[in-house]
Amino acid sequence: MEENILEKSDADLVSLSLENSEFYGFLIQRYQERLKRYILRIAGGVYNDVDDILQDVFIKVYKNLNGYNPKLKFSSWIYRITHNETISFLRKINRKPTTYNFEIDAVKVKTIEEDLTLDQKLDNAKVKENLLRIINNLDKKYQDVVMLRYTEDKDYQEISDILRKPQGTVATLLRQAKSQLKEEILKNQHLFS
């Protein structure tokens, strides 16, 4: 039966969870790891509190299951709640995320290469490290979209649904971020060759 359940879509699991809360466990298992990583990335490493935030997220998601709109991807919806809960948590403890916590292994280098249409490959360790430094120094206003695009591998529609921003705004922010990123890479060519 469990195998059968694992093949179910998120939307199906939502419907099943509404009938029997036991099924909600499968949704938790499906998302807990990525959400935990996402929380740590946007909250700048709140290791001691991450489980509490995650628990609050899943309880909130459960309470709001009936509010899930199947027109959206479930992942976008749960990421949105996670994003908001994490920001609320930081506000509660009077902390602002100054810079996001991008990690080298999480950055989807391939997506960056494709998006920036660069000639060189960014796949060796040293180059990746330099790339990470540049990403971490990007303007704060770009970090939400850059995080979702280059670590969570979300497309424009998903980013728009997660951040509740129009797709045009997301596209503009990403375009500007990419241009800043490309400019920095070209300026520091020696670090990327």
Binding site: L18, S21, E22, Y24, G25, F26, I28, Q29, Q32, E33, K36, R37, L40, G45, Y47, V50, D51, L54, Q55, F58, I59, Y62, K63, N64, L65, N66, G67, N69, N101, E103, D105, S160, R164, K165, P166, Q167, G168, T169
Partner: protein, 238 residues
């Protein structure tokens, strides 16, 4: 970061918490109502914004700017006194409320800021023009003046300009035409006036004074006269 993440499965903890605390999903109708409530507030705000705009436009257009010097010493003071602050405040307040609630609707964020503002503005302009053209804004203004205490103090309009016989400005309804030179007029506060023409100029010249018609006049109070008398030199239709 990887080694610092504790990857324990928290699904059982959460399911236990859900059971122990008897947590239930909020019913669907709550979300539906919340979304509809946001749209309703946007809709009502849109109506109030349109009404405010149509009243501001009506008050501006119907205002007799050419005779401000009879009422005030300078145009700046006149504008300050006759600016419809109430409608301006309501207009701005409900724009904020509409924007806030629009963003709270399920799909509100999908429309860009410029697109929402432009569409909203277009609807508001069409609605308020409709209110102006059909005379609804004028009627609403009159009703508020009649029935809403304090409205006259907050929103001064041309009735206030033309209700100042000491400054030579008087308006009202023609009650009875006695002869070519005299008629009786009831001002909008229901005071009866004997009106006497003196080198009178009627603007426009083809305008005919009829019993029951509303007019506005420039002239002076007759002093001393046995009854309340106004000597008029300019008559205009209301």
């Amino acid at each position: 970061m990887a080694e610092e993440i504790n990857n324990k499965d928290i699904s059982n903890d959460i399911l236990n918490k859900i059971k122990c605390d008897k947590i239930c999903p909020t019913p669907k109708w709550c979300f539906v109502c919340k979304n509809y409530a946001s749209w309703l507030i946007v809709f009502i705000s849109g109506l109030i914004i349109s009404l405010s705009l149509s009243l501001m436009a009506f008050l501006f257009i119907s205002h007799d700017w050419d005779i401000y010097q009879l009422e005030s010493e300078n145009i700046a003071r006149h504008i300050l006194v006759y600016t419809p602050y109430l409608w301006i405040i309501l207009f701005l307040l409900f724009i904020l409320l509409a924007v806030y609630n629009f963003n709270k609707t399920e799909d509100g964020y999908k429309f860009g800021f410029i697109r929402s503002i432009f569409t909203g503005l277009l609807i508001v302009v069409i609605l308020s023009s409709f209110m102006m053209i059909t005379g609804l804004s004028s009627k609403i203004n009159d009703n508020f003046r009649q029935d809403m205490p304090g409205y006259k103090v907050l929103v001064r309009d041309r009735c206030d300009i033309w209700d100042d016989p000491e400054k030579g400005l008087l308006s009202g309804r023609v009650q009875e035409i006695k002869n070519d030179e005299e008629f009786i007029l009831n001002d909008f506060k229901d005071n009866s006036w004997q009106v006497r023409k003196e080198n009178v100029k009627i603007i426009p010249p083809e305008f005919i004074i009829k019993e029951g018609g509303n007019i506005k006049m420039i002239g002076r109070i007759c002093d001393p006269c046995p009854v309340r008398t106004f000597i008029v030199n300019t008559i205009k239709p209301w």
